[in-house]
């Protein structure tokens, strides 16, 4: 039976121009989504390039001045930017701490509209986590980005529904089902084969179109083959999930108009309602404290501490006698006081910052737990992970930047309190930031979950079919 189903299903699809229409539609939509994603990545990459270039230019100028000073030459530089003073370097010549673009970043914008991709943590200020200089237009956030993940998660199921909503009901309504059922075949086997064939063709077209898009936008298959494999296994499992839903609805409802309405209702429920409810519950159960309130509190605390800076410096020098002036000179600068107060500031801010971070982590854990309630969440999380644009990635980046910021400040601390000059030799030892992506959770597990959903739907479909055959309502 399979050979004949394969041969004539293909002929029918070709003659009805479904395959051509599907291929063209998917190609246009996916290419456009790829272009959109690539444009965003390009913009981000360019921005990073500019920042790095600017930093390198500043560094070159600083090295030149430093070299002149060390050679005993007169230099005409603003005293606040004089590079032999360590805190001038710590403040004026920060390193760029960037989260680089991953090979698949363009497929899923994820959280990248909400978070910044580069920070220049200097010795002054610790508000990098509040830096939103790259924040996208909120109107765009409202509508989402038309990227590949959007096309696959939102649009592809609609195409599957349009392609197959009446796969069985059409035969019944048209009248060919009775002729089919009078042949020595199992109608269940026949409908499963027909659905499987449509799954096969749509999957083939989708994978071809994705591969073409990746090739077109310069994806390196050789070095990123594993990411490509993960991407296509997710897409295949997701398409299968929707086809098994289509099969189930055809068996349960078996009326073309009602099938279409039911499938659209399922689409709304799975794609829109469940993720919205999960997100809303996360907000209700673990509300994030007001960011404005937090910023105000941070400022108030800093103000309070700055008024006590002399006392704080005394305490600091008592705790760190190695930094106390050896010649008894107690004429400490702003930087001495500021750096001394940072430990205390960090200590005092910890509960405030962590109350924010904790709630965020709890929200993420909640979503991570409930991601299995909707394939849409599951797919979005997986795509963001593959694209390195997930909340986990940005949180890890923020933590790494916080550590680097401390390392940067600590590098200059001995020079500041030891009244030492910054030299060319120190310049060579300046710490630099390298982003380490977090370990991704396994895509395999998510694929398995989607397959389990599909198997369950097929099983329920079989039970419904057996019941309906007994009642005689499948064919008549």
């Amino acid at each position: 039976m399979f050979r004949y189903n394969f041969k004539y299903e293909l002929k029918s699809l070709l003659r009805s121009r479904w395959l051509l229409l599907l291929s063209l539609l998917l190609l246009i939509v996916v290419l456009f989504a790829g272009y959109n994603g690539k444009e965003k990545v390009k913009e981000r990459t360019q921005e990073l390039k500019n920042v790095v270039l600017e930093s390198n230019t500043n560094d070159a100028a600083m090295a030149l001045v430093l070299d002149s000073i060390e050679s005993g030459l007169q230099v005409s530089v603003n005293p606040r930017r004089m590079p032999n003073a360590p805190m001038n370097v710590a403040y004026n010549y920060p390193r760029v701490a960037a989260i680089p673009v991953a090979p698949l970043t363009f497929i899923s914008t994820g959280q990248s509209d909400l978070f910044t991709h580069f920070i220049k943590p200097s010795a002054y200020g610790d508000s990098f986590s509040l830096d939103y200089s790259e924040l996208a237009n909120p109107i765009q956030l409202l509508f989402g980005s038309f990227d590949l993940s959007f096309v696959i998660i939102y649009i592809l199921p609609l195409i599957i529904i349009a392609f197959s909503y009446n796969i069985l009901s059409e035969e019944k309504e048209y009248g060919s089902l009775k002729l089919l059922a009078s042949q020595p075949i199992s109608i269940y086997q026949w409908i499963v084969q027909k659905t499987a064939l449509r799954f096969f063709w749509l999957t083939l077209i989708t994978l071809a179109v994705i591969t073409i898009t990746l090739l077109f936008f310069g994806f390196d298959f050789k070095t990123n083959f594993s990411a490509f494999l993960q991407l296509i296994s997710l897409v295949c499992a997701y398409i299968l999930f929707w086809f098994t839903i289509v099969l189930l609805v055809n068996l349960v409802v078996n009326n073309s108009a009602k099938n279409a309405v039911s499938l659209l209702a399922i689409w709304v429920f799975v794609i829109l309602i469940i993720p919205a409810v999960v997100g809303q519950l996360a907000n209700s159960f673990y509300p994030i404290p007001s960011r404005t309130k937090m910023i105000t509190e941070v400022r108030e605390l800093k103000e309070e501490l700055s008024s006590k800076q002399d006392k704080i410096l005394d305490n600091f020098l008592r705790d760190h006698p190695e930094y106390a002036s050896k010649d008894g000179n107690s004429n400490y600068s702003f930087w001495h006081k500021y750096i001394a107060s940072q430990e205390l500031v960090e200590e005092e801010l910890k509960p405030l910052i962590s109350s924010y971070e904790d709630q965020l982590t709890k929200q993420q854990n909640w979503v991570r737990l409930w991601q299995y309630s909707s394939p849409a969440i599951l797919m979005q999380q997986s795509f963001n992970n593959l694209a390195h644009t997930s909340t986990t990635h940005y949180q890890s980046y923020r933590n790494q930047v916080a550590l680097f910021s401390k390392e940067w400040r600590n590098f200059f601390k001995p020079m500041l309190y030891g009244n030492k000059n910054f030299t060319t030799n120190d310049y060579k030892k300046l710490p630099s930031f390298t982003y380490e992506p977090p370990i991704n959770s396994s895509v395999l597990l998510k694929v398995v979950v989607l397959l389990i959903f599909s198997v369950i739907f097929i099983f329920i479909g079989k039970q419904v079919f057996v019941k309906k055959i007994k009642k005689g309502t499948i064919i008549s």
């Binding site: 029918s12 009078s182 075949i185």
Partner: protein, 238 residues
């Protein structure tokens, strides 16, 4: 070849078919007459195992259709009132498909012979069936029966909506099938056609077989008279 014993189908309190006992042997044609809802199509649906009987049994070639659905279907061909084929496929392709999924494979030349035997014009063989008339589609159905070597033909109002010429051609085809020892059950409203081609004629009303004649036992006039009387009389056993 076709046999039913006390075959009954009920939907809740409604009895669609009540204790039907008939037997159609090789080379016999039983034409079942009756108004809509008389139980003719229910009988065919039960023989095809599309619906399960409430009680009683239906046999094709000595096999219970409920217990042996896959074994009985190779012996039979079913032609509904509106034989719907796949519109984007040609006559030959449709024939090849319906035979192929049932496990029977034929060459293109053989498929053409079957269509020729069924009386389809040669120029229609490679045309998409979306352009076919009802009579042409039914010829493809007959070709399917010929190709399958069907021993049983179940026809559900096959001549309704056919013009007299096509209806006559279809009747001739059935006679040829009968001569080829095929057992035929035809549900119809057409008394004239039933008398012309049936070897036996039954009149059904409200799920009950009210009358059963051998063709030579009754004239067309009497058959029409009995039919009309049955349809107008109250529901009493005859």
């Amino acid at each position: 070849m076709i046999k039913t014993t006390n075959l009954t189908k009920k939907y809740g309190d409604f009895t669609a078919l009540d204790n039907l006992n008939v037997e159609i042997k090789e080379g016999e044609i039983l034409c079942l007459l009756g108004a809509n809802g008389a139980g003719k199509s229910t009988t065919i649906n039960l023989l095809l195992n599309f619906i399960a009987p409430t009680s009683g049994n239906a046999y094709i070639n000595g096999l219970d259709v409920v217990k042996n659905p896959k074994k009985t279907k190779p012996y039979l061909t079913y032609i509904p009132e509106n034989l719907m084929l796949y519109p984007t496929l040609t006559a030959i392709e449709n024939l090849d498909y319906f035979l192929g999924i049932g496990g029977k494979s034929f060459s293109k030349a053989e498929l053409k012979t079957f269509l020729e035997e069924a009386g389809l014009q040669q120029e229609a063989f490679n045309k998409r069936v979306q352009f076919f008339s009802k009579g042409m589609r039914q010829k493809v159905g007959i070709a399917l029966a010929i190709a399958k070597g069907a021993k049983v033909l179940l026809l559900d109002e096959p001549t309704s909506g056919l013009d007299p010429k096509s209806s006559n051609e279809f009747g001739e085809l059935l006679k040829r099938m009968k001569n080829a020892k095929v057992a035929i059950l035809m549900a119809t409203h057409d008394i004239f056609r039933a008398k012309e081609i049936g070897t036996h004629i039954g009149i059904m009303k409200q799920g009950v077989l009210k009358h059963y004649f051998r063709n030579d036992e009754i004239t067309l006039q009497n058959l029409e008279k009995v039919y009309l009387e049955t349809m107008t009389l109250n529901n009493t056993a005859v």
